[in-house]
Each structure stands twice: as structure tokens, then as C-alpha cells.
Amino acid sequence: MPIDRPSAIARREFMWGAGATLLAACGVMRQVHNTEILSSAPRTAALRTVLGALITSVLPLEHPQFPKLQAAELEATLLELFPIDRDPELATVRSAVMLFDDCAAFPEPPAPFLRDQRENDRSADPAVAAQRAVAHDRAAFERYARAHGGEHFAQQSLAARRAYLELWGQSALATRRRMYRGFRAWVLISAYSRRELWQVIGYDGPLLERG
């Protein structure tokens, strides 16, 4: 997969900047006390493109029974509940989103992912287990790339985006699964906080608001 030089540099800088703090970003917002601001924090427009792609991948906006909601409305709710686009304490969360978007970076997980894998592993040889996990993910990615190609999640087709999410959800690396869970949770929490969704699923909402 050809990579032009400027973007390769940007990617390297990003990976370096994300470094150890990236792990902290993966638990959605719970580590807000523990974040560092990255010098290469992604631009808001790019971030929002990826968030929009996440929303349309996790939620079936195309489903005939899904409420008539635009992705932009759901994105507004998401950013209201999780102010990741503007809260300086959530800079690493922004970086995690952009790392996720970078499909081409998938085969070689960043060092903090591997460190996390080894530290949380209680098997006899955590280093070997981590290498096995990397090999598993690389093979899974190769299958994905053969079927879908593409460098950026947000630019893929809907089917490819959902397959890519699945790749993360079924990763052998715990940090990737955790990011998948986190992203999925943001979108679901944002959607199911809205009355339009309550109505279609038959949830009565707060008794206090029922009159």
C-alpha cells in the first residue's frame, strides 16, 4: 500500500504523540484526570468525519424502522454527552479515534498496546502470547484488506466499515477490543438517550416525565 511521504511523517508523529497516553483514552472518558495534551491533536473536521462514520456504522440508519434521524443530529447528541471535540482533557480520546481511522496502521500495533497486553497477561510467557496476538490480528487484517482495501475507515463503504469495526471487536489485543467497546458505547448511549429511539423500541421513559 503506497504511502506518500508527508502522511507517513504525520503518522509517525502521531504514533509517537499518542504513545503511552493512548491507552488511557480507550476507556471512554473515565480517565479524564489522566490525559496529556498532544501537540499533534487532530483537527476537528477530520475528527467529526470519523465520528460520523462511526455513528452510521454502529447504528442502522438505513433500517426501515430506524427513526428518521440524520447522522448529524446523533453526532450533536454524542458531542453533547462526550465533548471530545473541545474538552482539552480529552485530547487523547481524539487521538484514539484518529488512530482507529488509520486502517493502514492496523497490522503493526503501537508499542503501548503490546505493553498493555503483556502487563495484563497472567500466562507463563506474556511476550510470546503478545506476539501470537499480533500475528492473529495481522492475519485477520490481511483477510480484511483483501476484501475491502482502503486506508481510512471513514472513507470505506458501509459494509467495509462494519467489517473493520468487527476486526477491532474481535482483535486478539485487549486494547483494541476495549476501544471497540468504548466507541460502540458512545454511539449507543448517544442514540438511546433520545426520545425518538425510546418511541420505536417502546420504552416509556422517566415516570416523572409521563405526566
Binding site: 454502529v58 448511549i189 417502546g202 420504552y203
Partner: protein, 522 residues
């Protein structure tokens, strides 16, 4: 620096701290200060919206998890602590567990004989304390009419398989069955410490300071001298605080830590409490719980009515797990249900036909499972992994749980997992026969959702100083006027949902302190 002089300072206003504050306030002359990290929210604030309340009332905004992100560890962080946000399940202390703690851990006192006078204190015994707590909290079994269809289906499924069920006892008074226990009771019907013991304590002159971070405990030689506190700005919606924001030092003759099994060991660690055998924080128990979801042919509406009224302790003594009937509002439901896109949405579309319950494992205490204060990150970290023996028991619970779902008449069953189980698509079961594939569950972190709300046993009582941090009075080995009294003090799991066990222990320690006041120069 502002300084408050107290006779007793209590850190944490939940099941333990609230009960202790009320009990100690029975002594008219003592100055008691009750510190709470969370806000003082009440019925006027509880709006029955999951996300709002999760943010305001729960530790780490409801998003606290184990280090690997796999297990949410829910806990109340507000006045009333867990009792403000739990679903009112009230289990008396389990006598066989306390007997085992006496025999194996060398615990003294805590008599179940209602005529006993432990430590020579008149009328001091655990039986009396349980009775006191039950009376104050109005613990009682719900009536037939209060059992909603979700609980009824669960009980019917168990009955069809010959599995005994019981009715939960609940700490409620005048419950209207709104189904919003876990977002704080907007009707003051749930008898949390917020509306019982903390209210009693404040009425009797206890100083409640909320939004109060206990930074560290301060020592002078082998005695605790006080607590360094930072009072934060009061959050919108909270009742007013008794002190303005800023630094505060509470000097006290007796310091009692009731911050729960995650924050208590973290506070002791950052206070550099003596720990010669590296015990503080070790042996964490979580009561890992596995949710089951079934889809019925007709409406269940499990979100309406009292959430949990039925449970089964059929396997409690033989296999160490309970089945407990519970249900979720949409945010919890959406998070637990597997998949994305149409697969997930179509399950949500059947929300009113879903029913649910959980298997709660009484997990073994393992030293590798621990809480540690992370100085750099400024928070407690939770390392936890299911032991292989516990995973084996949870697999058995998973199989029986799926069988119960089908015995209750479901056309489909799920557990919250996307692990590959034999030929199944995800953890979706099409018949009771499919339940056998649960034997392939590996409980992979981040692929199978296990939940937890009962951390315990991280600052344990016991006679052996090499194994335990506290003696039976809850005094820390090494610092006599520092007491720990909460779920962290249990030597292992207390064997059931812990609220009443914690409150009875707190009532007991409170009455003991009243009877042994000279011991603390009070």
C-alpha cells in the same frame, strides 16, 4: 489552613459510613464529622434519566472498570453511596460465612446469639445489629402484586427446572414500583442511608461535608492525627455544602475509613499506612455477574415495576452462585446486548418482549486481584482476572442460566458475549440444547461482558498480621485509632449481596465504640 476539631471523623457516607455516623451520634457529646466525596443529591434531583444520574451519582461517572477495561465496577459516589443507587436487595449476613471467618481467620466477636455481650459491652452482638438495621430500613418481602412479569418469568423458568426460588427482601417504604431504583429514588421510598441513617445523623448534629476528597490520613508516631481534605466546588443540583471549597484539615481522636473496597485501600496506600506484608489492596472480590437475556413471544415490559423481586440461591452453597432477577433501562440494555447495526437494533426493537436476570458468582479471593493507588494517574487501579476455578463455576452458571431462559418460554436467548461458541452465531442460543456450548466460554476480557457492583475484601480483618490488615475491631494493625469499616474489611466475600452485612457490621462497630469509648480517649 482551615481546621476542624472532631472526636470522630468518618470517611464515606454509604452503607457503612452512614450507619456508623448515626450510631455514634447517639452519644450526645461527640463531635462527629462525616466526609463524602460525592455530592448531596436528593429526590428533587433524581430525574430517572440513566446518563444524567450515572454521571452525577456513580464513581468515575459510572464508567469505572477494571484495568483491562473488561469489567465495569459500579459504585455509588454520592451521599448514601451505593445505597442511593442500588436496587434495594437486602440479604441478612450469612451465618456460615461469619462462622468460617471466626474459624479460619480468627475473627472474634460478631456473635449471632442475641443475648451475647461481645467485648463486655452490654447487648453487643451481630444479631441485635441486624435487627436494628432491618427495622430502620423497613426490610420486608414484596407482595405478590409487586412481582412484575420479568420476575414472574424468571421464577417460572426456574420452577420448570426444579430450581428453588425465593423472594428478595427489599429496603423500601411506600414503593410505587416506578422501576428507577438505580437512578436514585425520586420518591424517598427506597430506604437508603441518604434518607435514613445519614438524615438521622445530621438531625443529631453530625457535620456532613460532601464534595470532600480525603487526600491522606495524617499520622503522629503510631497514631492517626487527622485527615487532609480538599472540598471541591458544589456540583449543580447538589444540596448546599456546610463548608466553602478549599483545603481543610480535620483533626480527630478517631479516624474511621468507610470509603468502600476500591477507595479505602487506595486511601491507606497513598497515606503510606504501614503494610509490612504488602496486604493492603490484595485479595479483591468482585462478585462477577453474567447477564442473561431472553426474548418472549409476548410483552414483558421488564422496565416497569420493581426491578428485582425474585432470586435463586439453589446453587449458592454447592456451586457458589446466585441467579438474581434484574432488568435494564435502554442505555444499560443497549450496552449489554451484543452486536451492532441491524442485528443490535432489531434486538432493541423487541425491548418490551425481552426479559433478563443475572448469575452472580461468589468469587474466591485471589492475591493477584488487587487495588492499587496509581500516584501518576491520581486514581485507584483495579487489577482483576477470573481464576480458572471461578471461570469453571461461571460456565456452569451460564449453562443453567440459558436453560432457565428457555424453560421460561423464550424463543431466543443471549448472553452478553461475542465469543465463538461452537456453531452458534455469537452467543445467541436458539434452543435449550444450545446451552451446552457455554462450556466453550473463555470469558475473554472485552468480548464477554461481566459486571460487578460488590467489591470486597481488600483491607481485611483477621488475626494473622501476615495475612490481614485489621483486627476484629477493624483497627489497623499498627495504628490503634484508625478503623476500617466497610466491605473491604470482610476477609472474603460475605456470601451474598453485601448491603445489610456492611450495615450490620457498621452498626456493630459503632455500638462497640460507644461501649469502649475510653479505648479511643473519647
Amino acid at each position: 489552613m482551615r481546621t476542624l476539631d472532631a472526636d470522630v471523623v468518618i470517611i464515606g457516607s454509604g452503607a457503612a459510613g452512614g450507619t456508623l455516623a448515626a450510631t455514634l451520634s447517639e452519644h450526645a457529646g461527640w463531635r462527629v464529622v462525616l466526609l463524602e466525596r460525592g455530592g448531596h443529591f436528593g429526590r428533587e434531583f433524581f430525574n430517572q434519566r440513566e446518563w444524567d444520574m450515572s454521571n452525577a451519582l456513580y464513581a468515575e461517572r459510572g464508567l469505572r472498570t477494571t484495568d483491562d477495561g473488561a469489567i465495569p465496577v459500579r459504585g455509588g459516589e454520592c451521599v448514601g453511596g451505593g445505597t442511593t443507587v442500588n436496587v434495594a436487595l437486602s440479604f441478612d449476613p450469612v451465618p456460615r460465612i461469619w462462622t468460617r471467618w471466626r474459624e479460619e481467620q480468627g475473627l472474634t466477636g460478631f456473635s449471632f446469639d442475641p443475648d451475647a455481650n461481645d467485648y463486655g459491652v452490654s447487648g453487643l452482638n451481630l444479631a441485635r445489629c441486624v435487627a436494628d438495621v432491618r427495622a430502620r430500613l423497613h426490610v420486608h418481602a414484596p407482595a405478590d402484586a409487586e412481582i412484575n412479569r420479568n420476575n414472574g418469568l424468571f421464577a417460572a423458568g426456574c420452577a420448570a427446572l426444579g430450581i428453588a426460588t425465593r423472594r428478595f427482601e427489599l429496603n423500601m417504604r411506600g414503593c410505587i414500583g416506578c422501576g428507577f431504583c438505580s437512578t436514585g429514588c425520586a420518591y424517598d421510598a427506597k430506604q437508603s442511608t441518604l434518607v435514613t441513617y445519614v438524615a438521622d445523623a445530621v438531625a443529631r448534629g453530625v457535620t456532613l461535608i460532601h464534595h470532600a476528597d480525603a487526600i491522606h490520613i495524617d499520622y503522629e508516631g503510631e497514631r492517626a492525627r487527622g485527615v487532609q481534605v480538599r472540598v471541591r466546588e458544589t456540583q449543580p443540583g447538589s444540596r448546599p455544602n456546610s463548608l466553602a471549597p478549599g483545603e481543610l484539615y480535620v483533626r480527630s481522636k478517631l479516624v474511621i475509613v468507610c470509603a468502600g473496597a476500591i477507595e479505602t485501600p487506595a486511601l491507606l496506600q497513598r497515606s503510606q499506612h504501614p503494610d509490612p506484608h504488602a496486604r493492603i489492596g490484595r485479595g479483591l472480590v468482585l462478585h462477577p455477574s453474567l447477564p442473561f437475556i431472553g426474548r418472549a413471544e409476548s410483552e414483558v415490559a421488564g422496565h416497569l415495576g420493581i426491578e428485582g423481586t425474585m432470586y435463586s440461591d439453589h446453587f449458592a452453597e454447592t456451586d457458589g452462585f446466585y441467579f438474581e432477577c434484574l432488568f435494564g433501562h435502554p442505555l444499560y440494555g443497549a450496552a449489554v446486548l451484543p452486536g451492532i447495526a441491524a442485528e443490535h437494533f432489531e434486538l432493541m426493537l423487541s425491548y418490551r418482549r425481552l426479559f433478563g436476570f443475572g448469575a452472580m458468582l461468589i468469587d474466591a479471593s485471589d492475591d493477584d486481584n488487587c487495588v492499587r493507588w496509581d500516584v501518576q494517574r491520581g486514581r485507584a487501579r483495579i487489577a482483576y482476572r477470573l481464576t480458572e476455578a471461578d471461570a469453571t463455576r461461571l460456565r456452569k452458571a451460564a449453562r443453567i442460566g440459558v436453560e432457565i431462559v428457555f424453560a421460561a418460554g423464550a424463543e431466543r436467548a443471549w448472553i452478553a458475549s461475542d465469543e465463538v461458541l461452537g456453531p452458534l452465531a455469537g452467543a445467541q442460543f436458539r434452543s435449550a440444547a444450545d446451552a451446552r456450548h457455554t462450556s466453550e466460554l473463555r470469558f475473554i476480557p472485552g468480548r464477554t461482558t461481566i459486571t460487578s457492583a460488590h467489591p470486597q475484601a481488600t483491607t481485611r480483618m483477621g488475626a494473622d498480621r501476615k495475612r490481614a490488615t485489621l483486627d476484629s475491631r477493624g483497627e489497623t494493625h499498627g495504628v490503634a485509632n484508625l478503623i476500617v469499616c466497610d466491605a473491604s474489611a470482610f476477609p472474603s466475600s460475605c456470601g451474598a449481596n453485601p448491603m445489610i452485612s456492611i450495615m450490620a457490621m457498621a452498626r456493630y462497630q459503632g455500638l462497640r465504640i460507644l461501649g469502649e469509648s475510653a479505648r479511643y480517649d473519647l
